[in-house]
Every structure is written in structure tokens, then in C-alpha cells.
């Protein structure tokens, strides 16, 4: 499966709030700091236009009629979304905020907020999104490289990352030690590994140990 890799696309701040005044004000504020903003009046509207390829972050009102902020978060989690979520909460919504954080939200901020606080949180969230997407892109590269290995090379790789010496591998696979060495060199080359440690780290990264 192909996943989005690091793109040069400009990040977008997605604002979901049922209160049109709050929505409009946030749009103006974020425009004032040069961010690209899209606003939605309901969780369902956002879901319709949601695309996992679009980088950015989600600024989400926790209390809304119809689909609540928490419900939208859950729907996005089901889609394996990596979009960072900053919840906007009212006073007395701490238990809901805790629930949101446990479900993976990056942050929450209480209304009314200082503009700088929100902007700082958004910037952090965007950095996180960038690194998430970068990591995701790297993992996809590793997976693609792994797919180029022959079955025999894959067998050798598995044994190498488990710390087996060439002699032991040769015994296990009933190959000559020389053949194992050739396979091993091919694996290092195909995986673009600079060292054994690098190779192990890449395999761990994609969870294929």
C-alpha cells in the first residue's frame, strides 16, 4: 500500500466549530499570522472533505451539536489519521479534555484564549505533523526497499538482524559461508544501509523483526 510521503504541500489549519463568530474570528487570526485556514461548521462537513494527504492540523471545538469533537476524533482515528488535533474547550470541560488527550489529541486550550498561546500550540502541532509525515515517508521508503529483496535475501536479513554470525546463517540455510556473504552484501546495498546498526534500526522502524 502506498502512503503519503513527505510533500512540499503547504500545511492548512482546519477549524471545526459550530459557532460562526468563533470560526470567523479564528480564521482572521490565523490569516493574520499567514496561515492557510479552512473552516467547517460541523464535524460531518469536515469528514466529507477530509484527505489524509493534506498536511496541517485540526483545531476542534469539543462541544458541538450533532457530531461532538470527541466523536470526530474517534472517526479520524478509525481512518488512521495522523492529523494533530488541538481541542478548544470551555470551562469545566476538563474530563472531556482528558479523554481527548488519551485518544491522542496533541493539546487542548480553554476558551477564551490568548492568541499567542493558540498560535504556539498550532506551530507545535504543525511541526509534529511535519515530522509525522516525514517519519511516515521514511517508513514507506524502507518498506519499498524491503520489497526489492529476493526471498533468500529476506531470509538472510532476518537472521542478520537477529544477530546471527555468517557461519551460523550458512549452517541454518545450508549455504556456503561465501554465498551468505554475497547475499548479505546485496541486502546492505538494496536497503541502503551504511552499517549493521543502521540496517537493524530500519527493520525495527517498520516493525518487521
Amino acid at each position: 500500500m502506498m502512503r503519503a510521503s513527505v510533500t512540499n504541500q503547504r500545511p492548512t489549519i482546519f477549524v471545526v466549530d459550530d459557532d460562526s463568530a468563533v470560526r470567523d474570528a479564528l480564521k482572521l487570526l490565523l490569516r493574520s499570522v499567514g496561515q492557510s485556514v479552512e473552516t467547517y461548521g460541523a464535524g460531518s462537513e469536515f469528514l466529507e472533505s477530509y484527505s489524509e494527504d493534506r498536511p496541517g492540523c485540526l483545531v476542534l471545538d469539543i462541544r458541538m451539536p450533532g457530531m461532538s469533537g470527541l466523536e470526530l476524533q474517534q472517526k479520524l482515528n478509525e481512518k488512521h489519521s495522523i492529523l494533530p488535533i488541538i481541542f478548544i474547550t470551555g470551562h469545566g470541560d476538563v474530563p472531556m479534555a482528558v479523554e481527548a488527550m488519551q485518544a491522542g489529541a496533541v493539546d487542548f486550550i480553554q476558551k477564551p484564549f490568548r492568541d499567542q498561546d493558540l498560535i504556539d500550540r498550532i506551530n507545535q502541532a504543525l511541526e509534529k505533523d511535519t515530522s509525522n509525515r516525514a517519519a511516515l515517508g521514511e517508513r514507506n521508503d524502507i518498506r519499498r526497499r524491503l520489497e526489492t529483496l529476493t526471498p533468500r535475501e529476506r531470509e538472510v536479513l532476518d537472521l542478520v538482524v537477529h544477530g546471527k554470525a555468517n557461519k551460523v546463517i550458512a549452517g541454518d540455510l545450508k549455504l556456503s559461508q561465501r554465498t551468505v556473504e554475497i547475499h548479505r552484501a546485496r541486502v546492505m546495498e538494496k536497503m541502503q544501509a551504511s552499517s549493521l546498526a543502521h540496517l537493524v534500526r530500519m527493520v525495527l522502524e517498520v516493525g518487521q523483526v
Binding site: 459557532d19 482572521l28 493574520s32 451539536p65 470551562h91 492568541d115
Partner: protein, 517 residues
């Protein structure tokens, strides 16, 4: 009566007089009895026979005092003797009331007059006896009914009066009217209206004067309640009803009226109303306590918008990257949002303030709008839509706006609670006003929730009955008493599509109500 006849022979004249005398005796309504100086009866006329039950022949020669019971019987002999010995006419010629006695022993009230027959010696007397039983009974009955009326007026604390406009008869104050108006019985007469005028409470005077003028000029009757200040300074409430009788030309001939002191009733009503108002106020405070978090959120929304707009403008201006339209729009929004927050707070304050209950003429539909502002937060947080269906007739009601809002809000909150467990698509509350066939305004709050359990239906309006954990069980009970105090009723029925419908009515406002006090 003396009849003059010319040249009539002496004997003929005597006969004629005798016949005439007999005719007079026979025609007399009163009993006539002739008796001599010893009291022996010489004659009893027909009326006397009927009155006493004797035959004339039976009593001739008997003592006249057999016609009297004791003690009059013995006294009569004394009177007669006294008269003859001293020549003193004790009872002679004087009408006197006493008891008389019939043959069968029964007694009756009688009026007696005795005269001496002139020119006789020894003297002879004629007695006239009149049966006054009927008159005495009537007098007695009148006295009794007057006494009873006075007692009744005292018990009811009511007095009546009659004013004669033409001065031919004396005006009348019933004894208790003096008390009702704070005077002592028997104080010099003064016209009721002249007396009342300075006593009427200043705040009620214009209304009183208008009613009085109307009665004087055109109305047949008046019926008003007002306050009076007694000479001792105490404040009383009176209910004054009066009627006029007019001459054919329309001028007032006579006015009769009653003044009813209703102070005790009014004070009891006032106390009951104050108690009800206090309970209603308590209900609002506890409602607001329950809604506080939601209301705080409702105020927080505009504050968030205001703060964000302002901060955005600062940044745009600082960066010198803005259009005038953009900043103007933001400033407009700031103003509007500040008013929005202020409005929420104003409604909240009005709702919980312990203020005087005031009935005003208000638009029924506006009451719904105001409630929606208060209930919107709760509804939104629970995914409930509020749908308004105001009557296109824009009916008016005479009501205390806050109390009626309290009733509607209470019904809406109940409906929200009843829908928490139903799917979101069903969570809708319909608020409707209609005008019924009698012109009364009917309010409906309908939900599509779990409905009312038939077993709970009977108890629904009882104080402290609740199906909600943490509920006080006062909401519906308070709502019903508020609606009743407004002259309406509150009831509930199942919603055909599932859920419950609550209705209440407020009486129609008469077309002229706008000009009334």
C-alpha cells in the same frame, strides 16, 4: 258626624239614630263593647263577637274584664274604680296596647281605647278593641330581620347604603357601614360619596373617580375594588358595588350600594401569591444552578470571538497587512458579539432576580424567543434541535414574562432530558403557540423522547415527584401553580409520534385590554 234634618219628629229621629248607631256598630272593624260603671257588659258588636268568640247574649251582664287576661284583668277594675272615685281618666280615650283573651282562653295583641258616654249617671263607657296581631307580627318580623341583617353584615364585614338624589327621602347608612368606613355609629350624617372621597387611596383615586362618574352619568352599576385609608390611618381593601335607578329623563333618582371590607381576603391572597412567587423564584435559581455550566459556555462563546477578533486585528495592523474592510468587519463582529454576551447575561439576570411580579401585555411568541436563548446551550450540548412554530396571529397575553419563561424553560429542559437516550436524528423539540377557539393562547412543547410512563402521569405534577436522578421534583409543580395563577391550565399528553407533549394556556386578552389599567 251630625246630620241636619228639617222638622223631624222627636220619636222618628230617635229611631233613626238607633238604626244608624246599629249600622255603625255592625260595620265596625274593631270590637265595640258598652259597659256600665261596675264594668258589666251591656252590648258587644259583631266584630267583637268574632274577635272574642262569644255570642253577645252570653256576655250581657258579665264583667267586661273577662275579655282580658291577667294582669290586665285585675288592673282594669282598679282603673275603673279610680276613674269613678277620682274622676281621673287614666285610660279613658287613650289608645293602649295590651293582651286580650278569647273565649277559648287564647290571647292576642290588642289596642284598647275607652271613652265615657257623655251625660250618663252613673257613668257608662264604650270600649274599642283592635286586633293588632298582624301588625305586631309584622313589626316583630321586621325587627328580627333587621337584627339578622345587622348580624349578617357584621359577620360579612359589609355595609349598605341608599342615596336619594331628589332629597324626598332620607339617605341611609346601615349600622355596619359605619364600621366598614371607620366611623362610630350615630355620627352625624354625611353623604357616602362625599365621605369616601378623601379616604380613597391616592393610587386608586383616579379609577374610583372614573367609576363613580360613569355611574353618575350613564352606567347602571359599578363594581370595583379599591383601597381606603380609615380615619385611624389603617389601610383597608373594599369591594364596592352600586346600582342606580333613573328617571325616564335619565337623571339619577336613587343609588343603592354595598361596601364590603375584603382586607382579610386580600391579605390572605397576597400572602399566598407572595409565597407562590417565592417558590417560583426558588425554582428559577435552582434551574439556573443546574444550567450554570451551559450558560457560562454561552457567554464564553462571544467572549472568545471578541478576544480573537481583537487580537487578530492587532496583528494585522502591526504587520501592516490588512484591508480597511477586513478590520471594519472584525470591529462590527466585536460589537455584535459583545451585545450577544450582554444579552445572555441580561436574560439570566432578569430570570433569577428577585423582583416584583408584574403582569404586562406581552407577545406570546416573544416569550418563546427569549426561552430559546436560555435553553439553546443545553439543547446544543445534547444534540437537540429547537424548532419554533410561532402563531402567525401574534397573540398577546397578560402575564409575568419571567414566570411564563420559567414554565417554558422547565418544559424544554424536561424534554431535553427525555431525549438523551434516543437517536440523534429524533432529538427535536417543537415549541408552538396557537390561538384556540375561545381566543385563549395555547403553548405547546413537544418532544420525541421516551415519553411519560402512564403510571407516572397521575403524579407528574405533584411536588417532589421526580423521575430524574438529582431532580427536585418541583419544576412541574411550580409550573402548574404559575399557570393557574395566570388563570390558565397546564396538562400533558402522549405525542402521537412518540414522546410527550406539554400544553398550557393563558387567557385571551380582551381587545380593549391595552387601554385598561
Amino acid at each position: 258626624m251630625t246630620l241636619l234634618r228639617v222638622a223631624e219628629p222627636q220619636e222618628e229621629r230617635a229611631h233613626r239614630l238607633e238604626r244608624e248607631f246599629q249600622a255603625v256598630l255592625d260595620a265596625a272593624v274593631d270590637a265595640v263593647v258598652l259597659f256600665d260603671h261596675e264594668g258589666r257588659i251591656e252590648l258587644l258588636n259583631h266584630a267583637g263577637e268574632r274577635m272574642f268568640g262569644y255570642n253577645e247574649q252570653e256576655v250581657i251582664g258579665l264583667k267586661v274584664n273577662i275579655l282580658l287576661p291577667e294582669p290586665y284583668r285585675s288592673q282594669h277594675d282598679d282603673y275603673l274604680r279610680h276613674y269613678i272615685e277620682a274622676g281621673e281618666p287614666r285610660i279613658i280615650g287613650i289608645g293602649r296596647e295590651l293582651l286580650a283573651k278569647r273565649r277559648d282562653g287564647s290571647e292576642f295583641s290588642a289596642e284598647l281605647a275607652v271613652g265615657r258616654v257623655q251625660g250618663t249617671d252613673p257613668p257608662r263607657f264604650v270600649g274599642f278593641i283592635r286586633d293588632i296581631t298582624v301588625r305586631r307580627n309584622a313589626e316583630e318580623a321586621l325587627r328580627r330581620s333587621e337584627a339578622q341583617l345587622t348580624i349578617a353584615q357584621e359577620i360579612a364585614n359589609l355595609g349598605n347604603y341608599v342615596v336619594h338624589a331628589d332629597g324626598k327621602f332620607e339617605d341611609y347608612w346601615s349600622p355596619h357601614l359605619y364600621r366598614v368606613l371607620g366611623r362610630r355609629y350615630g355620627e352625624p350624617y354625611i353623604g357616602v360619596y362625599e365621605y369616601l372621597e378623601p379616604m380613597v387611596h391616592p393610587a386608586d383615586r383616579a379609577r374610583w373617580q372614573a367609576a363613580r362618574d360613569e355611574l353618575e352619568t350613564s352606567a347602571r352599576s359599578m363594581d370595583i375594588e379599591y383601597r381606603v385609608i380609615h380615619p385611624d390611618g389603617s389601610l383597608r381593601y373594599v369591594h364596592h358595588i352600586a346600582q342606580t335607578t333613573r328617571r325616564p329623563d335619565g337623571r339619577v333618582l336613587r343609588q343603592v350600594g354595598t361596601l364590603h371590607d375584603i382586607t382579610d381576603r386580600r391579605r390572605a391572597e397576597d400572602e399566598a401569591r407572595q409565597m407562590q412567587d417565592r417558590i417560583a423564584h426558588f425554582g428559577r435559581i435552582s434551574t439556573m444552578g443546574e444550567m450554570a455550566a451551559g450558560i457560562a459556555h454561552e457567554v464564553n462563546q462571544p467572549l472568545t470571538a471578541i478576544a480573537t477578533y481583537a487580537q487578530a486585528c492587532q496583528r494585522l495592523i502591526a504587520a501592516n497587512d490588512f484591508s480597511q474592510e477586513e478590520v471594519e468587519a472584525a470591529l462590527n463582529h466585536i460589537g455584535a458579539q459583545a451585545l450577544r454576551a450582554g444579552e445572555v447575561i441580561r436574560r439570566l439576570r432578569t430570570f433569577v432576580k428577585n423582583r416584583e411580579v408584574r403582569r404586562e401585555l406581552i407577545e406570546a411568541n416573544r416569550l418563546l424567543d427569549d426561552v430559546v436563548t436560555l435553553a439553546q446551550t443545553d439543547a446544543r450540548h445534547n444534540g437537540v434541535r429547537l424548532v419554533l412554530e410561532p402563531s402567525p396571529q401574534s397573540p398577546q397575553v397578560q402575564a409575568d414574562a419571567v414566570q411564563i419563561q420559567q414554565v417554558v424553560l422547565n418544559l424544554v429542559r424536561n424534554s431535553i432530558d427525555a431525549m438523551l437516550t434516543v437517536p440523534e436524528v429524533r432529538r427535536e423539540i417543537l415549541l408552538r403557540t396557537t390561538v384556540d377557539s375561545e381566543g385563549d393562547v395555547e403553548f405547546m412543547v413537544a418532544d420525541r423522547g421516551t415519553g411519560v410512563d402512564p403510571a407516572a402521569m397521575a403524579e407528574l405534577f405533584n411536588p417532589f415527584f421526580t423521575t430524574k436522578p438529582g431532580g427536585t421534583g418541583l419544576g412541574l409543580s411550580i409550573s402548574r401553580s404559575i399557570v393557574r395563577a395566570h388563570g390558565g391550565k397546564l396538562w400533558c399528553s402522549a405525542n402521537p409520534g412518540g414522546g410527550a407533549r406539554f400544553f398550557f394556556t393563558l387567557p385571551a386578552v380582551p381587545a380593549s385590554a391595552g387601554s385598561q389599567q
